[in-house]
């Protein structure tokens, strides 16, 4: 075992990061697969149904084989390219949607003091990558040469550009609190237990960020880009087989990314909620140790909110989405940034400026 450890230590840094990247990608893809199952199960339970329960693994665990059955079905389906579609962009669009959702994980601190790339401007990197995702949607809608797809792309582009502003402003508050754009520093700055995390001091920004995150990922109740009751399936109406599956994968990978980023920005990432508390509150127990498991727990708790919202809220009308984004969320962030500036000026709260 120690020989293996030595070998691991001797490998150059790029081998480490390549291996970690591969591992992260595999974990992400598996999480996406089981997130789809989890979503169908959760919504089923909320609507007093059972959900998928047929495909088993090794003859037991009803439903657990469903993601693989879905993937194999989509893999062996034909990819139909419409006759008058723009063939190059039609094929490129799913990839453009998917890549940012995975690439953004490079700067996310996934373990104590570890991220695949420790970038100082990490927060800006995340923002710029998530803003690239909209290209896939627009290009898919345009290159399909279909009115429904085009309408979906237009809706999604306007929505994503609008909510990116609220999202960016919410993150301004986070970087004011941390005094750094580095995601690792943003996490370590929140140490000191449950109430020292940013969610407590930046609650309005957390709400704005999470709502914008749902809008950015085109999830219910903001899923007008798909709007199956009005525009069939929106921007991916012409896609079939694995090309469609890539859009599906991108949507769920983006959900996981937004949940992970919310956990990092507002819930202390890999920090334990008991960290820094006295012994009678468990501050010296094993539970107070930081670790990746805390990030995973927080991430899945936030992911559950995505599913819960989808099962709960009816879809917004388009003008209501625009009103919420521009007239409610952006003013809230502006007011709270001012409040935060005053708090840090008069040393209220845990700011280190």
């Amino acid at each position: 075992m120690s020989a293996l450890g030595d070998l691991w230590g001797q490998l150059p840094g790029y081998v480490h990061s390549t291996l970690f990247t591969l591992l992260l990608c595999i974990v992400l893809i598996l999480s996406v697969a089981y997130l789809t199952l989890w979503e169908r199960k959760v919504i089923g339970w909320m609507q007093l149904r059972i959900g998928p329960n047929r495909v088993r693994i090794f003859g037991f665990l009803p439903g657990m084989g469903q993601p693989f059955a879905d993937v194999i079905k989509l893999l062996i389906k034909e990819i139909v390219i419409p006759a008058r579609a723009n063939k190059v962009l039609f094929r490129l669009a799913p990839a453009i949607t998917l890549i940012p959702a995975f690439a953004a994980w490079a700067v996310v601190p996934i373990a104590p003091n570890y991220a695949i790339a420790n970038v100082d401007a990490g927060l800006l990197y995340v923002l710029s990558l998530t803003s690239m995702g909209v290209y896939g949607v627009i290009l898919a809608g345009w290159s399909s040469n279909s009115t429904y797809a085009f309408l979906g792309a237009m809706r999604s582009a306007a929505q994503m550009v609008a909510y990116e502003i609220a999202m960016g402003f919410a993150l301004v508050g986070v970087l004011m609190a941390a005094g750094s754009l580095n995601l690792g520093v943003i996490v370590t700055q929140q140490h000191g237990g449950l109430l020292a995390w940013n969610w407590f001091w930046l609650l309005p920004l957390l709400v704005v960020y999470f709502i914008s995150g749902i809008a950015e990922t085109n999830r219910a109740p903001f899923d007008v880009a798909e709007g199956e009751s009005e525009i069939v399936a929106g921007f991916h109406v012409e896609y079939s087989g694995m090309a469609f599956a890539l859009f599906f994968l991108a949507e769920y990978a983006n959900m996981i990314l937004i949940a992970g980023l919310t956990a990092v920005f507002f819930f202390g990432g890999w920090l334990s909620p008991l960290d820094g508390y006295p012994w009678w509150l468990g501050g010296t127990s094993l539970l107070a140790l930081p670790g990746t498991h805390w990030l995973v727990i927080k991430l899945f708790a936030l992911l559950f909110l995505f599913l819960w919202f989808r099962a709960t809220f009816p879809r917004y009308r388009y003008d209501q989405i625009m009103r919420l984004g521009w007239k409610f969320l952006i003013p809230v962030t502006l007011v709270w940034i001012a409040v935060e500036a005053l708090m840090s000026r008069y040393h209220v709260g845990p700011w280190k400026l």
Binding site: D120, F150, M154, E164
Partner: protein, 200 residues
């Protein structure tokens, strides 16, 4: 050595993409080539350690401005014949502008011979030097007033753009959220007390 190879790689892509912006017949391809231009120039800026500017270039131009460009280009039905109508007539003007630009670039490159080499680049900075921090200190410290004035000019421009394009359409049905929230059951529903019918 590696930075040099990367530079030439990105520079080649940048030049090719810039040519594609001009020569592509499909306006959507032209806009996408422009996106590629921005991304590769951001990569070149990263090579000279201007990481903040590079990421902001991608964030602002690729993430927001070009999305809106594409948005408009896709919605407009652009008639290329109409756009190309004056091509040969104004070609001489284009050649003059191109010539001036080539001369200017040559001037910059050739200054190395005069002993005032501006192409050599700045001296390497210490490892703990933060570009972003220095930029912030300059913008919010030394140049605070020009910065604020620029912000005001932008704000005025936004207000002007909205005021110019705002149309007041009569008979437009809009939702008044305040009135909806303020509505009470007592204003909407009137309970009428009636005697039940008597059967003789």
């Amino acid at each position: 050595m590696l930075p040099l190879i990367l530079f030439y790689l990105f520079a080649t892509v940048l030049v090719l993409a810039a040519v594609a912006v001009i020569v592509s017949r499909n306006p959507v391809y032209a806009a996408l080539s422009l996106v590629l231009c921005f991304v590769t120039s951001a990569a070149i800026w990263l090579l000279i350690e201007a990481e903040f500017l590079a990421i902001v270039l991608v964030l602002v131009y690729v993430g927001a401005v070009m999305v809106l460009f594409l948005f408009v280009i896709m919605m407009l039905d652009i008639d290329l014949e109409e756009l190309r109508a004056g091509f040969t007539r104004f070609a001489w003007l284009g050649w003059i502008v191109a010539g001036v630009i080539v001369l200017e670039i040559a001037g910059v490159v050739l200054t190395g011979k005069l002993g005032i080499d501006v192409t050599r680049g700045a001296a390497p900075l210490p490892a703990n030097y933060s570009n972003t921090q220095e930029l912030g200190a300059l913008l919010y410290g030394r140049y605070a007033y020009p910065f604020e004035i620029a912000a005001m000019v932008l704000l005025v421009a936004i207000v002007a753009a909205i005021a110019l394009t705002l149309r007041h359409r009569p008979n437009l049905k809009a939702q008044d959220i305040g009135r909806q929230v303020a509505a009470r059951a007592s204003e909407r529903v009137r309970l009428v007390k009636m005697d039940s019918e008597h059967r003789e």
